[in-house]
Symmetry: C2
Subunit: 361 residues, 2 copies
Amino acid sequence: MTLPRIAVDAMGGDEGVRVMVEGAALARRRHEEFKFLLVGDEKRIAAALDNHPGMRGASEILHCDDVVGGDELPSRAMRRAKTTSMGLAVNAVKTGEAGAAVSAGNTGALMAMSKIALRTLPGIDRPALAAIMPTLQAHDVVMLDLGANTEADARNLVQFAVMGAAYSRIVNGFERPVVRLLNIGTEEIKGTEELRGAAAMLTAASAGGGLALDFDGFVESDKINRGETHVVVTDGFSGNIALKAIEGSARFVTDLLRQAFTSSLRSKIGFLVSRPATELLKHHLDPNNHNGAVFLGLNGVVVKSHGSANAKGVANAVAVAARLLENKLTERIAHDLAELGQDALGRNGKGRASGDGEVAL
Amino acid sequence: MTLPRIAVDAMGGDEGVRVMVEGAALARRRHEEFKFLLVGDEKRIAAALDNHPGMRGASEILHCDDVVGGDELPSRAMRRAKTTSMGLAVNAVKTGEAGAAVSAGNTGALMAMSKIALRTLPGIDRPALAAIMPTLQAHDVVMLDLGANTEADARNLVQFAVMGAAYSRIVNGFERPVVRLLNIGTEEIKGTEELRGAAAMLTAASAGGGLALDFDGFVESDKINRGETHVVVTDGFSGNIALKAIEGSARFVTDLLRQAFTSSLRSKIGFLVSRPATELLKHHLDPNNHNGAVFLGLNGVVVKSHGSANAKGVANAVAVAARLLENKLTERIAHDLAELGQDALGRNGKGRASGDGEVAL
């Protein structure tokens, strides 16, 4: 198949146009078939393209003057969906001008715009934000929701489980990923009513054999990175708390390590000698290597690149978008939901008032 | 003043009597005035005391045969409050036979028994579990609730803030600790209704000047260990998720580091050379050095030692109990609540059904 082109919001992110275009070019060096719709200030995009001659023929520029601010309220940004680079990139997915959109801008605004433009899939009440994180094993762990919804009921959590499993199958190749619900203990009585309800529904559906995943109860947040769980399912509040706690703690330990290694001449020498080892660690923990969070549950692929990602990180986000297109993520989720049966989940309803646009990753 | 003696549940914890008695002895080597009521199997306690001659004169043994199981439901354990080592240790605080209790047993059971035996302080609807964690600065950060209550309303969170500040003043010596609410963003509109309500109440109370703390809005979980916040306030679910995510992530990074350092001869040599530096890191991250979580808001001091703590960890938990007694934690909290004024907090009511006994740290 011919890969549909990828719309890139060239204006988002801390570094702006240069890094976004360089990231797209880097991704294309690995995958020659990638084509782009670069959305934003034409002059600046053209100037950035000058450094990447190979990109010219693979890119079309969609000019606009307006940009969503990093601190802007999603409700305000949404009113400018037709004029901003973010809004136009998402809209290109809606109209079919692009197969997927990548943006490093305001997460809440991207979520709100994507939901309005692309709508949720049949059988999905709310989309969720999913990311991958490194583990002690060779494979990554998928965690969702990371902040698209401040609250989630049992049915939402079951839908997140199905979406997360589809994502895990694509990025890690597991036929039946091991899925667990994030909780504060592993016994059945632990946690909230929503968690216990979701566990009961997933256990019943797993026993029926219709689900392409292995549901295995609860997992505590100290086990997320062990690699025994392939998909960690949670509401957006807890997921955001867990994700950022993991990131902050990893940074804390590496900061302490840096302090320790520079505390004496002897330890500086030791550091130099063991450099290849610490470089390996650095590579493993570099968030750019895991960049690209995905809004799951929409009629289309939207990938959020971290605001502070470098070109390598942007290239990873672009590659994630391409991979999800190639592997027909949207169709897979729709298929899995149909398998699960609407009885277990209820119909695609209005759900509760959504807490979207709450979070900046 | 003469320090009241400390009741030690000698039967709790993964290692049992030997470690608990050794921990008490270690604490006493640093603080000769410590006296103990050791609760549990008399023979085994007496045997353990044989290794610590100095402890004989400083200890009384309270014999019992019954022990609370690690996986036991709190509701079941509570029925044996009069026969178990944990129940009797807590009861000794109630009767005044001891000033504080330390246990390494089942957290949920300890919480439930403490609540029933000691009751909450006037002005406190629910007790909370608080712990200290290392930061990049010289001082520690206090975080609460860590799992005593699965949910917390705005008033509970304000009470946690007052209790956490009192604790921080004692352990870190800040006159007005910087207190923040854990949230998924720092803007005023972020998070749940409970968080926004608590923020409004704390802002108003701070402005009045009556609070012995500086409330400074929200903090995200990646900043907990930076040291800029002295007290992080949250509900027990999010607090437990954040605490364990931090612990798990720190272990993940140190596991990767160990893998990296043993991956080649060169890195092994580098490791040996820089050993003093990595030992410093190890010391800083050793949970035994921060052992001793405290149930705040009760008419008495109850300290939870980690189930897997070694003797050094138990000694720290005992020292925490002593320090809180010396500094009259309970009286301070009662005083601060009175200062705050009951109007802001409402009266000490029944509150909602408590989610206590939910969690095992």
